[in-house]
């Protein structure tokens, strides 16, 4: 049934619109959660459909591909949609428990669902120009979310975010325009059959333009500077959503474009990606170690670990791509948990500056557990999900003989553990330097964090299903003919 593919788009859109139309705060709160749960259910149904029947495609408006608008769902798309559904539900729960009334009245629920609409559209579209349009949809919502409430820090972060996003959009649009001029196609499946016949110089140039455009979105070296400047600014219900979803859209776009379109000169393009991955990993984690504020530290960790996802793409073997996909899914959960937790700590202690925090282990021992679960997963300790993700990537690197990137990956894992240990020592272990003034914390804020933390643990103890799904996603990525056949209806 072709409607299942567009359901992850229609549900957030309908929810967002109803929130706008209804206006009453309590109705919006209910809708916010119901919409997120609906999205999760639709994503599960879509994944099971893709798992049973292979890649699904639908031509919107009933105009045949490559002329109409195509949506296509393979394992990668379906998995990304599913995990964004999980993050959406958890963030909605946190927002409900927190009850930030002014932001709720300014349309938080409508905007966050329109953001999800854009994110899922980007995951599911089968058309390169439409990918640009979906980026714009999610960016427009994120601009408003970024400055919702209008504090000074938010406006300062928002301006940087706006400028960088615009630059990336222009790069992307130029790249799409040039590619269209050279091939006369925009449908990704159609493009995949045509890019091979371009002149190598032109092809590599275009590939680098796309790498730049998506790299800016994904916040990789050397384009990551904007992320730690803007993500810590908005309240945690917004920044956790951004941290979980937005950079992964950039990663998804890179995964898609560099397995479907630009796979001819891998010696050049994918070596560049490996270098970018290594430098992102190293610089991100070193800068994270230098931070004294929790949310900025987490932002740099977010940047650093994007490198792992690119590492698998750069290696471009089945195992490497499996690792990339698994890492992206695992990271969405873990980083959203850590961002939400940072918001919770800020409430409890009135600050996220590490030197001023302390004593949480004594006052809230269960919070220490909630912190350690995702933190260990981020660092890649067994038995957490992050361990399997890193293990797969390192094994892939060793198999492919890319020893340098493996060394970097292992070192960064160690440094991540160090940085998480520092946070634990500062915020949880040491005595607070002076009495802390926290704001009253509504009960139930820990529940969403606990859900994500347990999910990170559960995916580590029972990694097989998700790993198998990631493996199938990797297989599909490495055999573009299946994607092309599903979209165009004929094998070429």
């Amino acid at each position: 049934m072709s409607w299942l593919i567009v359901l992850p788009l229609l549900i957030p859109l309908t929810t967002g619109i109803l929130c706008l139309v209804l206006g009453s705060r309590s109705a919006q709160r209910v809708l916010g959660l119901v919409g997120a749960l609906g999205l999760l259910a639709a994503a599960l149904a879509l994944l099971s459909q893709v798992n049973q029947r292979g890649i699904q495609a639908v031509q919107v408006g009933n105009w045949p591909a490559p002329f109409g608008i195509t949506f296509a769902a393979d394992h990668l798309s379906a998995l990304m949609v599913l995990v964004s559904g999980v993050v959406a539900v958890v963030v909605a729960l946190y927002a409900l428990a927190e009850g930030d009334t002014p932001r709720e009245q300014q349309g938080y629920y409508a905007l966050s669902h329109l953001l999800l609409f854009g994110v899922n559209g980007a995951f599911l579209t089968g058309d390169l120009f439409n990918l640009y349009v979906w980026f714009e949809v999610l960016l427009l919502s994120s601009f408003v979310l970024m400055i919702l409430g209008g504090s000074k820090a938010q406006l300062a972060g928002g301006v940087k975010y706006f400028a960088v996003s615009l630059l990336s959009s222009i790069l992307f649009l130029v790249a799409v325009g040039l590619l269209y001029g050279a091939t006369g196609a925009l449908n990704m499946a159609d493009l995949a059959t045509r890019v091979g016949s371009l002149a190598p110089g032109l092809r590599d140039g275009l590939a680098m333009l796309f790498l730049g455009a998506f790299g800016l979105k994904a916040a990789v070296f050397p384009f990551f500077f904007w992320l730690p400047a803007s993500y810590p600014a908005p309240p945690v219900i917004i920044s956790a959503l951004f941290a979980g979803l937005l950079t992964k859209v950039g990663v998804y776009a890179l995964l898609r474009v560099f397995t479907l379109l630009f796979t001819q000169d891998t010696a050049f393009t994918h070596t560049v990606i490996l270098w970018v991955a290594g430098l992102t990993l190293l610089l991100g984690v070193l800068l994270a170690l230098a931070q004294g504020e929790l949310r900025r530290l987490l932002s740099f960790q977010l940047v650093s670990h994007i490198g792992y996802m690119l590492m698998g793409l750069g290696i471009l073997t089945p195992l490497g791509l499996t690792g990339s996909v698994f890492y992206a899914l695992n990271h969405m959960i873990v980083i959203a948990a850590l961002f939400l937790l940072a918001g919770l700590l800020e409430r409890l202690q009135g600050t996220t500056v590490l030197v001023r925090m302390g004593g949480l282990y004594q006052s809230h021992p269960w919070l220490a557990v909630l912190f350690l679960l995702p933190a260990f997963s981020l660092a890649g300790l067994p038995p957490f999900s992050g361990f399997w993700a890193k293990f797969t990537l390192v094994a892939a690197g060793l198999q492919a003989g890319q020893y340098a990137i493996v060394a970097v990956a292992l070192l960064v894992g160690l440094l991540t553990l160090l940085s998480m240990g520092l946070v634990f020592a500062e915020a949880f272990w040491k005595n607070p330097p002076r009495p802390l003034a926290g704001t009253p914390t509504p009960p139930g804020l820990g529940v969403p964090v606990a859900l994500l933390a347990l999910l990170a643990l559960g995916l580590g103890l029972w990694a097989e299903p998700l790993l198998a799904l990631s493996q199938r996603a990797a297989q599909e990525l490495l055999e573009p003919s299946r994607y092309i056949e599903a979209v165009l209806g004929v094998s070429r």
């Binding site: 567009v6 229609l10 619109i17 109803l18 706008l20 139309v21 639908v58 919107v60 009933n62």
Partner: protein
């Protein structure tokens, strides 16, 4: 702005511009026009009225607050895309039917949604700007 000429003419122009906007909306199906440009003309009508008679008077002429209109516009557009579901066709497939001898289709309904959305979004921007412009002299020290 307090001029008699503007106040008197804006009443006539308001109606005329709104009629023109509906004309443009419906003309858009086969000829230049459409929901977007029609809404721009309608916003022009309201902006003119607000300049001549003040914001409060202009707001009174709206059935709903502008941002709420955006929601309704999006809802209308979404519903037009969903009609195809009942005919077992993919999302947004154009469906045509005859209403009292006039050919009506989901693209027209979609255009009405666009009209409402653009109208609400632009009007809320213009009202917001005029509000700030009204407030600034008082707030300046």
């Amino acid at each position: 702005m307090n001029t008699l000429i503007l106040k008197t003419t804006s009443r006539f122009l308001f109606t005329l511009l709104l009629l023109l906007s509906v004309f443009l909306l419906l003309r858009g199906h086969n000829e230049p026009g459409g929901g977007f440009i029609g809404a721009l003309v309608a916003v022009g009508a309201y902006a003119l009225f607000a300049l001549a008679h003040g914001l409060t008077a202009a707001r009174k002429l709206l059935p709903l607050p502008p941002l709420r209109l955006v929601g309704w516009g999006l809802l209308v557009a979404l519903l037009s895309a969903l009609v195809a579901f009942f005919l077992n066709k993919p999302l947004m497939t154009g469906v045509w039917f005859s209403l009292l001898g006039v050919k009506v289709g989901t693209p027209v309904i979609f255009d009405i949604g666009v009209y409402l959305t653009v109208f609400g979004a632009l009007l809320s921007a213009i009202f917001g700007l005029e509000e700030t412009a009204d407030r600034t002299p008082e707030e300046a020290p």
